[in-house]
Amino acid sequence: MSIALTPMQPDYRPRLRRRRVRNKIGGVILGGALLIWTLVPIYNMLLIALSDDGDEFTGAIWPQDWNWDSFRVVWEEDYWYLENFWHQLGNSTYMAMTTMVLTVLIASLVSFALGRMRLRRAWIVTDVALLTYAIPSAFLVIPFVYLMRVYGLTDSLWSVIAAEVTFATPYAILILHGYGKLIPLELDESARVDGATPLQLYLRIYLPLMAPALVAVGIYALLLAWNEYLYQYLLITSSRNATVAVAIDQFFDSDEAPWNYMMAVALIYSLPPVAIYFALRRYMVAGLTMGSVKI
């Protein structure tokens, strides 16, 4: 038994040293296994995208053809499933950005009203937000789709935006509400003394101080909207209004589709979220810890 009170000279003690070597080897093996585990599905996308059409499933585990043609086809919209590709990429971007802006706006207004204005019974709103956050969005999808027909929003990007904002806002409220507690109320007080209205407080004091949390919430909403599939697929019916997610599913639903084109689209579609992840990882990870959901 190694006890920390003994002088620490681990290298002179063969047992400890052996254990350390063993731990190191175990760590390397575990790390290697995790690396392979994580990357295989991503590698598979590339493997199929680089194949010739019709050569996707030949049992090769390394790219045989190194054919970048599928990316050219996607780029030039040179296949009939892909004839609106750039437009669809624009739709995805527009939909995700609008969701992000609306989510940040709505959630920050709510968290300001709850946290800074000391509204009575504020817990009702936070409870409702928590409830909506916990319940999976798939539970609402069937009535939601039928209701969108009532609202006359079928085949409209706005119906998708409505759905994404609905499901992104609750978590955003919880995070912002938690983070807002860190900002001293004295700031509001002194601004009040100077005659600021609540709107000015919100715009000039609250929003600037909440910036890190707003970024975290914005990224969350952006990725949620970009990555979501079910509502986009069900609410949008025309190729012109489709998002990239819907376009990929068109390949998936067909029995004889050029899988290499599909995987090229899938890779292009996966790039923005991964790029955002690598660029803004700090904010994303901070977002998980900043909203202490203590209500």
Binding site: I42, A134, I135, P136, F144, F252, P273, L288
Partner: protein
Amino acid sequence: MNSTSRVLELGSPIGATRPGVPPWRFRLQGSDTTWAIAFLIPYLAVFAAFVVYPAVFGLWMGHDPALYDGLFSDPQYLTMVVNTLVFTAIGVNVQMFLAFLLSGFFMSRNWWIRSLLAIYLIPWALPALTAFVSIHYMTVSQYGLLDSLWRELTGEDGPMFLVSRSLATTANILSYIWKWMPFWTLIFIAARMAIPQDIYEAAEIDGASGWRKLVHVTFPLIANVYLVSTLLFTIWTIGDFPTVYFVSSGAPARQTDVLATYGFHMAFDFGYPNRGVAAMMSALPVLIPAVLLLMRRIRVTGVQL
């Protein structure tokens, strides 16, 4: 009471003398209440139009008792219930436990483990759609990547994953773990980082080994996070759609459908939206207690998520 608030109290005498009210520095009154409600209106409107109304409409769609008779006599429904239970029980618990163990591995300050963590988290950012479609094509045919790898390693043909119900379910569960374990690992890393180091130092002085520190220090201190995460994740998993929809697509012969994909097919492929809603509603007796328990737990203890 500081001088600022005193100035404000002088400026707003109404309510300032009401007994029994805590000495708030600001009291909502008059125009402030109007402002606060105005700030809440956008969210309340979204909530009413896109949560309450669909929920009520859903209850109305699924109110007919005859729907449930039809549902419970459908053998596919029973298969689906079993699948959902298996998917949830294994997918959540194995995943949570592994994520907990891995969070310890990723606490290391080694540079290569830090970089590995960045790569390991990619599935969290990746769209479920593309990841699961890719896994679908790894498993769907004898020439998918997994079978090809199997052939390279053993020289024999690999299993046909999506022909057997148990292998297809395994593929679904493993894909689900692939996608979400990084997220939960991160949650546990955050929870572990919140534990003060001196507790470990004290345990070491008492002669605790690594294993005993894990069992008697780390685990009790993050037990609440573990419990709340597991509850929340269980609720999410009961309603998970993309995993089964893309990875096994219900293959073989709709034998691996779970709740959400069953409801989806009923409503949008077979044209029985009411039965789809009824299927979803049949999960409410499990879901509602779980949600209430979760909310109670979070209210009492608070948790970072």
